[in-house]
Symmetry: C2
Subunit: 304 residues, 2 copies
């Protein structure tokens, strides 16, 4: 009997669960509203237990909202840590799921999982160095360098990059409770809504909101290019469904780099350099399955 | 007879050459002014040929000013590529040296070499994720992530990060010929000199130049922390010899992060997080020897 892999895209409003082998072979899926940790984790366990009644699970992967602790050697490995989401701070996510299902569990940030999904099956196949960004309710990113996800001390928090903000031309203060006018404070979905007084998705494609949005995103992309020298940048999330952003972003990135980085991949093939996700809106859950595949072959060490 | 390793810190004004085993065992060294490629490369070859008359060389490492091509599979591997330095654009550095000395040659940017030196013998010993920055005539950086240097498409160009610049408070246009007020344009040694009308090293420690300098550098550090989540940031170069910058930089980084990244390494131990180089002003040449050690065990592939 084929062993399946389980994936959970553990978001702040819903958990998307799936069991299968990859994007083209999903055997079961479920959407669970994110309520309390107890309820939500139990519903996810119930779903995978039902899967296990018909097919064995080789491993499970979880890409979670955060901040999280993804360091296998840490005492709080597998926890959502200091999230402002009520009831969820310091929640052990991996522990109860591993105990209930008795399978290896891979765990990382939602954006790192999504990056892995795009690397395995999406727009970054075969690339060892790339960035996945999501621009939506929040802004976040996952980075692959030399074929490995970057964690470092904790994990990247790319959404909060500080970008040039000309308050003369744009007096908007930004909405980030920590930094005011960081990237997330200037360019996330809620920032657009606060600035223009209506939900981002109701603004027409020729609204000046999008020019400003492309400008701030381009400044962040330039900084990411200068820091990481990625081979591609994959941009997903609700805001990036405004596809008119892509051509303008590409122009603005070239303009801001101003010929400094002389790479054909950027200077000549930018349409193929800054791209939408290959997995559409499913990078996260398929990425969680990619995490499960990793966990099956090299299970994360347990805390010692 | 002990085999030695050769290192060249190939700078725009001088090449520092050394042969030995590491920082505490240097058998010979030389400083060669950077004139024409032909003359400079020949002088370096002459130095190492002389070394070879008394001790065999196991390998050589070169950390070079750039931009360079550090990709072993590229046709222009080992070249200085699009540098504005007269006479040096498209110069094959590795080729003639490897041919003359008949040893494996490792090649990377000057800052990547320096990062490697600090990782091997300096302030980043044992760390798999850190950033080395140099703030001097130019600004540049090398990044280790998961124990490996980041190259990606080309190599990082951290000096040109775009940082918030309030032209109301600070109308200085910046000196970068590509970007005007990028980090290098605002905070390099020449930028300080242009802004204040006198060389940076002649400004007293309580001059307002240093508060402004710490501010711009702190904004870049915050972006690097959010992107790379390093375990330490090592800052060298002429400007950082103004040691009064360190305590102020640490304060400003904490202020700008504003509690968002909850890691004890940052929140509680910042004095140990943002630090001067362990190898003083020699990170570059010792780093080149570290590159040689790598080349001896796993020689870079030759272009195919």
């Amino acid at each position: 009997m084929t062993e399946l892999y389980g994936g959970i895209e553990a978001g702040g409003t819903k958990w998307v669960c799936a069991a299968g082998l990859g994007p083209n072979e999903i055997h079961a899926q479920a959407r669970i509203p994110t309520t309390t940790p107890g309820e939500t984790i139990k519903a996810a366990i119930d779903f995978f237990r039902q899967v296990q009644q018909s097919s064995p699970l080789a491993a499970l992967g979880i890409g979670s909202f955060g901040p999280v602790d993804p360091q296998p050697r840490s005492e709080t490995y597998g926890h959502i840590t200091s999230t402002p989401k009520p009831g969820w701070a310091n929640t052990d996510v991996v522990g109860p799921i591993r105990e209930a299902l008795q399978v290896p569990v891979g765990f990382d940030t939602d954006v790192n999982a999504a990056a892995l999904g795009e690397a395995q099956w999406g727009a970054a196949r075969g690339l060892e160095d790339f960035i996945y960004l999501t621009i939506g309710t929040g802004i976040g990113g996952g980075v692959l360098a030399n074929g490995q996800l970057i964690h470092g001390l904790l994990h990247p928090e790319i959404g909060h990059l500080l970008v040039p903000h000309d308050r003369g031309a744009d007096p908007f203060e930004g909405t980030c409770p920590y930094h005011g006018d960081c990237l997330e404070g200037l360019a996330s979905g809620p920032a657009i809504q606060t600035r223009w007084g209506q939900p981002a998705e109701t603004l027409p494609p020729d609204h000046p909101a999008w020019e400003l949005e492309a400008r701030y995103l381009s400044l962040a992309l330039v900084n990411l290019i200068l820091t990481l020298s990625p081979r591609r940048i994959v941009m997903g999330g609700g805001v990036m469904q405004q596809l008119q952003l892509f051509p303008r972003l590409r122009e603005l990135v070239l303009e801001a780099l101003n010929g400094y980085v002389q790479s054909p991949a950027i200077c000549e093939e930018i349409d193929d350099y800054i791209v939408p996700p290959g997995l559409g809106t499913h990078s996260g859950v398929f990425g969680a399955i990619a995490l499960a595949r990793q966990a099956a072959t090299s299970p994360p060490e347990k805390p010692t």
